[in-house]
């Protein structure tokens, strides 16, 4: 046993699969003086890795998760600890079969082998299954099981072989010291280590360790029940650890996985059972391990019957030899927590990561720490994605309770949360509620998605409803009607969730210029729309910046991106204090006024000259409406004449009332985010961060490159210049859906997004960087009478008029390239907006 060193470049806390992956990848990327600490012994310190089921179903609708999983599986394979056995998701209901068809699309997207199989075919693969309770399944031949403890050891051994790592087992973290917001040292029961970086990779204990430094890692330890049943002769006779495919009995939220001569049966069907990180028993006091808690039989009993029903032959005789309530980590949105914590510089989180995505996530964290950003876009896993309200235990538990049973659930892409609603209300919330707003959540805010009071417009415009329940779910034809009403006259949009940052100080121009691609050194009162790039030239954010003074810039970004963008800005602030950042989100509220009648409406409320000459597109002016101090910004995300109207939050209600009252004469309609975020935006081809814009794509590919590049240095400039020199590997295109009729049942279908774009006969399309073409956003274009899809296509396919297919629910529908690049399909010259 070696002594604790007094210094380290990085201390990685935790020696489960995650901590081990992180140290392995850090060492490979050239880090030295890595110290890894775990309270428990090696190779199994007693965390969740030690009792995990260790199997990997790579298919996931979520791209980031699918990619992390695929990378992890490849790493396990390379280490020789990946046993491919195949896996089948079985369906007992038609609704599940439909979900499995949807999974075929995701499998196609991420290039994973998948086959829909009949009950008979399932029975051939798994002879002891009772096919009578099944109506079908999806067979994934690449499903595997891994030895995560062995993989962890290999990672450590590799790091040690590079002379990069010292691992201290049986060492408890007592405190983490910080100095002016930066991590400084780790105090253990064996001494103090000064470290430049600290990575918290302690699974269910992570929140507790983070709290020592004053940081938050929003997860809760939760129970996943499993039992081990055996011996089972047919499994014993196989003589293998895994001779049969792993079964996910999706409709009952259970899985059955062979472990040599016995069967492990796991469940996600029971009530959510949460623990506190502070109350997990110690190694010595736990019966089995700290994360293998006493099995609560009552919670599992209902599952016994369904398990028996599925595998009566083998499960009726076998004995229940081991049963635990295993602890695992859950987060409010079921995604991992990686990246630098927002509270403490150089204190990193690598938590809420399961076995299947462990090594891939370890790589992403190591790359992020080394290069400033990982190769794979981590935005959905970024620990900085949560607003403060979402970091509370209350929120974490409520959301985890809601999604726990959705682990194997069928989750609609537009599905809304039921819990933790009405926590952030717009100043005009009572007005929109009166208008029958149906709210979707945006960054915790209740944002009107459409208004039931507009339902008469559906008939007025003759909007067709959707025939299939899935396509209709979390959607309304009212959205399309509101769209047309806005394009005809004028719409009011509640934009309270906008995130607003004010930057001031003597260094602000230099700072903003360093952050942005486009030139922000514009005249006071002018604005710039610009991407922010990662060091390697991919999208980190896209946002609008107003110059309000020589040394005053206002950044406006979306509700879904606010916390991440704020962290990015904050971590790049100059250390000399010459730039000050203030989050003004709660100080101001925003109301959008757009449509052909917008100028007439607003002009009727003020003497201030709003003519195009006096108030051109892209400019901003302070205007008083009576005693309401407002700032108008002439811009539009829906391609119409009009303004974003910023007023102090407390004046939001009165401002809305005036606009609404006066607007009556101009035919004003309240318009929801269904128009603002989808139909209006799509017709104009506007890109959305997290959908079209990801760090894996650059501005050239997204059609956002300007003719000239500014002189000032900015993050990602070198890569951006390089990207401009080469032919783009993909071009973001707008496609139209040419036929909605399902070949199977003749019902009109409407994709929801993330479906593969294929050759006409269903061939997978990838660009020269290996990236697949898939739908980034799908939605109606009511003014065009077309259904629109955005997708990146390789240049050979990105040709206007080119016919391709979209694969929706395992069926092909014809689509045509309408625009290659960023030209809008509606009002391509922006006459309506800029006139």
């Amino acid at each position: 046993m070696s002594d604790l060193p007094s210094n380290a470049s990085v201390v990685v806390i935790g020696a489960g699969i995650v901590g081990n992956s992180v140290v392995g990848h850090l060492a490979e990327l050239g880090w030295r003086d890595i110290v890894q600490i775990d309270k428990g012994p090696l190779p199994n310190p007693g965390g969740s890795t030690g009792h995990a089921s260790n199997f990997i179903f790579p298919v996931d609708h979520n791209k980031e998760m699918a990619m992390l999983t695929l990378d992890s599986q490849r790493q396990y394979e390379e280490m020789g600890v990946n046993v491919t056995c195949g896996g089948i998701e079985v369906a007992r209901t038609e609704e599940r079969m439909e979900e499995l068809r949807r999974r075929m699309s995701s499998a196609k997207n991420w290039d994973m082998e998948a086959h829909l199989v009949t009950p008979g075919e399932i029975q051939e693969l798994v002879p002891f299954i009772n096919e009578e309770v099944l109506i079908g399944g999806c067979y994934f031949p690449t499903v595997s099981a891994v030895d995560s403890l062995r993989a962890g050891t290999i990672f450590r051994e590799r790091a040690t072989a590079l002379d990069a790592l010292q691992t201290m087992a049986n060492t408890e973290i007592l405190d983490i010291e910080t100095d002016r917001g930066r991590v400084k040292a780790v105090i253990t029961d064996k001494g103090r280590i000064e470290a430049e970086y600290v990575v918290i990779a302690c699974g269910v204990w992570s929140p507790r360790i983070a709290r020592m430094a004053g940081a938050s890692i929003p997860l809760t330890p939760a129970v996943h029940q499993m039992i081990d049943v055996g011996p089972i002769p047919i499994l014993q006779e196989s003589g293998k650890e895994l001779a049969f495919p792993i079964i996910r009995d999706m409709d009952t939220f259970m899985y059955e996985r062979q472990t040599s001569g016995s069967m492990e049966v796991g469940s996600y069907a029971h009530r959510p059972i949460f623990h506190s990180p502070d109350e997990i028993p110690s190694l010595a006091e736990a019966r089995l391990s700290p994360t293998e808690l006493p099995f609560t039989e009552d919670d599992f009993d209902p599952q016994l019957e369904v398990a028996l029903e599925l595998m009566p032959e083998i499960l009726s005789q076998a004995e229940i030899k081991y049963a635990i309530n295993g602890l695992l980590s859950l987060t409010p949105d079921a995604m991992p927590l990686i990246g630098e914590t927002v509270e403490v510089r150089n204190l990193w989180s690598a938590a809420a990561i399961w076995i299947k995505e462990g090594p891939g996530t370890g790589r992403a964290v190591a790359e992020w720490m080394t290069n400033g950003y990982p190769e794979l876009d981590p935005h959905a896993s970024d620990v900085a994605r949560f607003y403060p309200y979402a970091r509370t235990d209350h929120h974490i538990r409520a959301r985890c309770a809601e999604h726990f049973n959705k682990t194997y659930g069928i989750v609609h892409p537009r599905e809304q949360w039921a819990s933790e609603r009405n926590k952030r209300l717009s100043p005009v919330h009572s007005r929109t509620t009166e208008l029958g707003a149906v709210y979707f959540e945006a960054g915790g805010w209740e944002r009107p998605h459409w208004y039931e009071s507009n339902s008469p417009l559906v008939d007025h415009y003759g909007i067709e409803d959707r025939a299939h329940e899935w396509d209709r779910r979390w959607w309304s034809p009212i959205q399309n009607a509101e769209h047309l009403a806005m394009r005809e006259k004028v719409g009011l949009v509640d934009l309270a969730p906008f995130v607003i940052f004010d930057f001031t100080g003597p260094g602000v121009l230099d700072y903003i210029q360093t952050m942005t691609v486009n030139n922000a050194d514009v005249a006071v009162g002018r604005s710039v729309y610009t991407p922010l790039l990662t060091g390697s030239g991919g999208f980190k954010a896209d946002l609008t910046i107003l110059r309000l003074g020589e040394e005053h810039f206002r950044v406006i970004t979306g509700a879904f991106d606010g916390p991440r963008d704020q962290h990015w800005f904050r971590t790049h602030l100059p250390e000399d204090g010459s730039v000050h950042l203030a989050d003004m989100t709660s100080a101001y509220t925003t109301i959008g006024v757009w449509g052909p009648e917008a100028r007439n409406l607003v002009q009727s409320m003020t003497d201030h000259d709003l003519s195009n000459d006096a108030f051109p597109y892209g400019s901003t002016q302070a205007i008083d409406f009576g005693s309401i101090n407002a700032r108008l910004f002439r811009i539009s995300y829906v391609g119409e004449l009009g303004w974003e109207v910023y007023v102090p939050a407390e004046a939001g209600g009165p401002m809305w009332d005036r606009l609404w009252e006066v607007g009556h004469d101009f035919g004003v309609t309240a318009v929801g985010a269904g128009v603002y975020g989808t139909t209006g935006r799509l017709e104009k081809g506007y890109r959305l961060m997290g959908a079209e814009l990801e760090s894996e794509y650059n501005p050239v590919e997204a059609g956002l490159a300007r003719p000239k590049v500014k002189k000032h240095e900015f993050i990602g400039k070198e890569a951006y210049l390089a990207a401009r020199e080469e032919e783009p590997a993909a071009i973001l295109c707008t496609l139209t859906m040419e036929d909605h009729l399902s070949p199977r049942d003749g019902i009109k279908r409407y994709p929801t997004g993330r479906e593969p774009i294929t050759t006409p006969d269903g061939g997978r399309i990838t660009d020269r960087k290996g990236r697949p073409s898939y739908v980034t956003t799908a939605g109606a274009g009511p003014s065009l009478g077309k259904f629109l899809l955005l997708a990146y296509l390789p240049p050979e396919h990105a040709v206007v008029g080119n016919l391709l297919s979209v694969m929706y629910m395992n069926e092909l529908y014809p689509v045509k390239v309408a625009v290659a690049g960023s030209t809008p399909v509606f009002d391509p010259d922006d006459k309506r907006m800029k006139g």
Partner: protein, 254 residues
């Protein structure tokens, strides 16, 4: 054969037992519960006798409402009926426990006929009083033998084996009798899925005995002072072999 088995719900600790702050009990917040190992074997033995000779197995416990979990477990491993003598969760001393159990047995016998055999574990894992089975036997006026690691039945005679240093000793008890068994008499089975389902649905009869405290009263629990031991590490891995051999020589074992 009509057989009764008495069991006790106890926590199953890990490597260190934590106490509640008031030191009145083991801190079992994170511990699973089980029955004492000897009693697991008693249930198994009863079920095996039933399987060999026919009959029914009734399992009974004196304990908190949660002890139903242990009764159901016993049913899932082959017992037929379960009886809970419900307490408020506080610990009963051996005299009060035995009196309650004897009372429970008498009522069961009144209702369902006499038991040919009443089985106990030799001693409970937690309190370790070594006396409840014997007290119950005296209360019922039946022969009792404890420390038993083998049972056979020959007509109305129970042949019991008890281990000694030299081998074993044999007892012949006329039925009805009481026997306290020890772990090792058999290897208990685990429940199967169907048996667990059956146990879940089984009815557990419950009554609330009144108890007179006996003369032994627990005041508080304590953790023994750990002798501060210093471990001499002889080495890591196979290279330590010569050091181990030296130790064996020093201890005069080579």
């Amino acid at each position: 054969m009509r057989i009764l088995v008495c069991v006790k719900r106890v926590p199953a600790p890990g490597a260190r037992i934590a106490l509640t702050d008031d030191r009145q009990a083991v801190d079992a917040r994170h511990l699973p519960f089980t029955v004492s190992p000897h009693e697991e074997c008693a249930v198994e033995e009863a079920v095996r006798i039933k399987e060999g000779h026919g009959g029914t197995v009734v399992v009974m416990t004196l304990g908190p409402a949660e002890a139903e979990e242990q009764l159901r477990y016993a049913i899932s491993t082959g017992a037929d009926e379960a009886v809970l003598l419900a307490t408020d969760g506080s610990e009963w001393d051996p005299q009060a426990t035995a009196a309650a159990l004897a009372g429970g047995i008498e009522s069961l016998e009144l209702a369902g006929g006499p038991f040919d055999l009443v089985l106990f574990g030799n001693e409970s894992a937690d309190a370790g009083g070594y006396q409840v089975g014997i007290r119950v036997a005296h209360a019922l006026g039946r022969p009792v033998i404890s420390g038993i690691k083998g049972i056979e039945l020959e007509g109305a005679t129970l042949i019991a084996r008890r281990e000694t240093d030299a081998g074993f000793e044999v007892y012949h008890l006329p039925l009805p009798a009481v026997v306290a068994v020890k772990e090792g008499i058999n290897l208990p089975r685990y429940p199967t899925l169907p048996s667990r389902l059956k146990a879940k649905k089984a009815e557990v009869a419950s009554s609330r005995p009144t108890g007179q405290p006996g003369g032994l009263a627990m005041l508080r629990l304590d953790t023994p002072l750990e002798v501060a031991s210093s471990t001499t590490i002889l080495g890591q891995g196979p290279e330590a072999a010569p050091a181990v051999a030296d130790l064996l020589e020093d201890l005069g074992l080579l």
